[in-house]
Symmetry: D2
Subunit: 141 residues, 4 copies
């Protein structure tokens, strides 16, 4: 396969995101997609909250999962899935938007280990609210 | 605090779930909540899919996270949060509904370690699609 | 490859363990190895302690890692490695021996997801001190 | 408690390490211990190998666990334990020594989330062989 130019990688990533109904439901936007790196944003709205008004942990874990997969895909190609990940929540997420930033830590032929920090933007500040690590794998079959 | 009868635990859990806008958005139902055990169901609909038509991994991780927290809450009381968890995806989720079943493995005073299996129901069969393990903690402050 | 009889699986596992110098250093014994299941024991001695006299967490994580790999190997064949795992420590390990019991939760062609409970034996009782979950993969190349 | 000067933190850390019989058995040395950061080294010798001659994964997980705890201790005080961690192995460890470098990602009052990269040193190069993330907690009771 011919190498994709940067713009193509980003455009293709945006198309993949737009073809995920769950990402559309959550309002996820692709901010960055380039070799070894992906960044997603989710505007915070009331529907994403848990019972105390913070963003639900499930939104943060979705954001981490998806950003890890997009980052891994820049190393492994577009046909990838998340094999596994772990996430630590470190602060309640209250603010205007969630940004998940993932990087590839190591890529082999069939899988990549990636990390992701999830931030909340509030009053012009970015605040770490979760951090994740996981394995992205080339889709079988 | 006086001990809650089983029915009260379940009723309270249902109220907590109904007060989570994100759980309402996803259509999550509480099936079981009793000492050391929680079970949640999410009817599958197109909005929950990723680009290949399977349920998005973020829905499974949300289901695991929430079931872990509900199970942990039966041991620690209602004011709990997920500290961290890890999830392994083992099969694509295609079917009619997702069921997440969590149990408490060990509970101390301030935190509980729980496990959760996530199944998809398809044509009358239940099929494991993910498995998770994590820590639930009493909410600080 | 012809199917191995149970006794052969156990005998082969014992040989693998004996060929791991680190397992010999720690004194690890194979108790059980059969389809989908492995059990290892480590007699506790002072050299395995941390500063408070408990068994060092690193011994428990080694035991979990190795038991996960042995269990995974019963599903995938002997040429396997641990890709990743997570462990939660739930109680200090004080007693006569450590036993790590791993089971296969799901096995595909190239990898298996396994779980492991680590117990300490003390005064005739077995007490859970850690629990782990991880991915075992067929060795590449 | 009066603040410890940097030299005191390092000296105290070296004493803790020397008081862990398992760390003495493995030959672990403290290279760095300062606010938010710890670095441990383990000279590789045959006793630490698995059956293919690589350093056993259990040695890497021990190194990660211990480095995470030391890093967390710089934020939380010396009476800390590892609550949980996950580790991804990315390359076989073959070389002269293992170095585990941990940093604090977020510290609260009672627990800290830390990350650790584990390198092998070979022929003057440092090569990432594992990466870990976990929770360090103040010891209860």
């Amino acid at each position: 396969m011919p190498e994709l130019a940067m713009d193509d990688i980003f455009a293709r990533g945006r198309d993949v995101l737009a073809s995920q109904p769950f990402s559309v439901l959550l309002g996820t936007e692709l901010l960055v997609l380039e070799a070894g790196r992906a960044e997603l944003r989710i505007p915070i709205r009331e529907e994403l909250a848990q019972q105390h008004g913070f963003v639900h942990g499930g939104v943060l874990s979705y954001a981490a999962d998806n950003a890890l997969t997009f980052a891994g895909g820049t190393a492994l190609g577009p046909a990838v899935v998340t094999s596994e990940f772990k996430i630590n929540y470190v602060r309640p997420a209250i603010g205007e938007s969630i940004v998940a930033r993932a990087v590839v830590v190591h890529a082999g032929r069939n899988q990549a280990v990636c990390r992701c920090d999830v931030f909340v933007f509030r009053d012009g500040q970015e605040i770490l609210c979760a951090t994740a690590q996981g394995t992205i794998a080339v889709r079988q079959g």
